[in-house]
Structure formats: structure tokens, C-alpha cells
Symmetry: C2
Subunit: 196 residues, 2 copies
């Protein structure tokens, strides 16, 4: 049952019949992605919305100075969407890159629109998912305003240990909005505190 993970994920958000679940699943197609390959590159249009079955992705932008800025990571059981580009079919500001060999399932825009029409419950599903995501983004912004880099680092590794364990320090620092040099110093401080 390769789609079991997707089904469980959906059931956590809406009440849906097994039959409808099967219909939803039938719209998705599986895809393997090799480590370091891109699912999407800045400037091109995002044609698929995805759900990660296995592996790990980073979603990031590159600013004018050439710095990479990670918006978020997506591992097993996470949705991969570039809402802006997907919804409006405009060039994306984001890159989506696999950090390890990964497997995802994809749905394209036309099929998704069809699915919304065929099964109104899907509309509700994405409404609820989007609202939950919105809350998460708001909380992250508050953390960025109120916590120090040290505190944000601690929050990240204790709240997302599975993801953190797959990442290099450079990737973590990019997500936290600090330089990798400073993250290194934070970790040293942390160790010193433990010893004392």
C-alpha cells in the first residue's frame, strides 16, 4: 500500500470515506528523485503539488547577494507546495531540491481542479491544511522576532529532531536565518554551558 501514508495524512484532517480516499489517491503519480536533483528551480513554473513518501527536500530562495535562504524542509509525510506558483502558474521564487534520494507523489493543476469539483471534501481538506500551515508560519515569525538565534536553534532541534538529524549545520543555519559560522559558535557555547 504505497498510498497508506497519504491516506493517513488526509484522515488526520478530514472525515472521508475509503472510497473517496481511493479516488483522491488515483490522481497522484509517483516519482523518484535523486539526491541533489531539483523538483523546481527559481524562475520556472511549478506544475505539480507533491506529498513526500520517503526522503527529504529543502525549499529555498536565492537572494540578490547570492545567499541561499531555506524556507522550510519537507520529509516523509509532508506536503510540498509552492502555492503561489502552482495557483497562479507564474514563475516561482523558490527552489525545491532533494537532500537525499527521495520518493514523492504528484498531482498536476488540471487534475487538482478536477478533484476539487468532483469531491468537495478535497476543498475542505486543503482549506484546513492551509489554515493549519498559516498558524505555523505566524508562530515561526513570532519566534523570529522574540527569540535569540540560540533559542531558535534549540526550538528547532527539539521540535523537529528527525528532520534536524538529516541536515548539515549549513542547512540548519540557513533555515534559522543566521550564518553557519555563528551556528558553530552557538553550539560551542551550548557545550561549554553543559560542562560548567
Amino acid at each position: 500500500m504505497p498510498y497508506d501514508l497519504l491516506k493517513q495524512n488526509i484522515k488526520r484532517n478530514v472525515q472521508i470515506s475509503d472510497n473517496d480516499l481511493d479516488i483522491v489517491c488515483s490522481y497522484f503519480k509517483s516519482k523518484q528523485i535523486k539526491k541533489k536533483d531539483f523538483l523546481l528551480r527559481q524562475g520556472s513554473v511549478y506544475k505539480y503539488e507533491g506529498f513526500v513518501l520517503e526522503g527529504c527536500f529543502r525549499i529555498f530562495t536565492i537572494d540578490k547577494k547570492g545567499n541561499e535562504n531555506v524556507l522550510y524542509f519537507a520529509t516523509k509525510d509532508w506536503w510540498l507546495m509552492d502555492i503561489d506558483s502552482f495557483m497562479n502558474q507564474t514563475p516561482s521564487l523558490l527552489n525545491i531540491q532533494a537532500l537525499e534520494d527521495s520518493e514523492i507523489i504528484l498531482i498536476n493543476k488540471t487534475d487538482k481542479e478536477a478533484l476539487y469539483t468532483k469531491l468537495p471534501i478535497v476543498e475542505k481538506l486543503f482549506r484546513i491544511m492551509s489554515q493549519k500551515a498559516l498558524v505555523a508560519w505566524q508562530r515561526r515569525l513570532i519566534r523570529n522576532h522574540t527569540l535569540t538565534a540560540q533559542e531558535r536553534y534549540n526550538h528547532f532541534i527539539s521540535n523537529y529532531p528527525e528532520i534536524a538529524s538529516k541536515l548539515t549545520d549549513r542547512q540548519k543555519s540557513s533555515y534559522l536565518g543566521i550564518t553557519h559560522e555563528f551556528l558553530s559558535k552557538i553550539k560551542k557555547q551550548h557545550k561549554l554551558k553543559k560542562i560548567m
Copy 2:
């Protein structure tokens, strides 16, 4: 037609019949709020979702150190929602306060659920609105990571001049995630640059 503003707002997001629009509007009740009064206080449960007809609100948290942290402002034609508290009917982390005498229209949770069931288009409406909001939050986080306080200030006042004009510098600084003293210094720098 006091609900014209709401109707126009909705029509910008979904195609909807005038009849359905009237039904949607009939679920909202108007409320006047005096300057400095709270629509919601941290710790209480948010029972209504609102749409601003006139005036201005600030949505903010107070952290452990006692600092106020503005998440966003809402003026005329903006939605006022504390999604987390409203969706799950749990105590809110947010405060919503009127910055001037204001008028909003409200819908309560039970009625909103009823509306979702009665008119599936409303489900689509809020799905689309949430997704658009999500994009805006992601972009704001990127700006926070990549821009200096100076640049964020410039971005804010040039992108939201109407809102900015209603705010004190303290409120702006709280939204930008800096101290009001530093904002004052930024403005001075800015003026000096203009002169030279």
C-alpha cells in the same frame, strides 16, 4: 449597502452568484468597536471571525519579557482571524485591539460551519484566501531573513502607505521586529541620506 465591501472582497477570490453572496452576508453581524478596545485578549477563546468595514486593528502577542509583538495590522477590507483559536476553540495567543473607532462584521463558528455545508463555494473561498495569506507570510519571513531593518521599513511604508499613515512609530517598529529607538535612528539616517 453596508456589505458591498465584503461582497467585492469575496468576488475577487471566487466566482459566486449574487444570491449566494446575499446568503453569505446574512450570516454576518455588525459591531462597533471603540478606539483602544479589545476584540480579543490573549488567553481567551476567539469566537468570531471578522471582516473590517472601517477603522484599524492591531493583532499582537505579549511575550515573557512583556514585549508587545505585532503580527499584522488590519484595516478596511481586511479579514480578522485568529485561525488557531477560532478553528480549535482553544485559548488564543493573540490580542486584537482597535487602533481607532472601528466597525467590523462578525460570523461565529457554528454559523460558519453551517455556511460551509450550505454553500461549498465558501469552502473554496476560504481555501483560496488561506493559500494567498500563506504566500504572504512566507514572503514576509524571507524578507525578515534577507533584508535589513532599514529595507524592511522602506518596504512596509511603500507597500502599505494607507496603513502606515495610521500607525505610530512604536507600532511600526513592533511589526518590523525592532525597537522603536532603532526605528527612530533609521529614519534619521534616511533623512541624512536624502540631504546629501
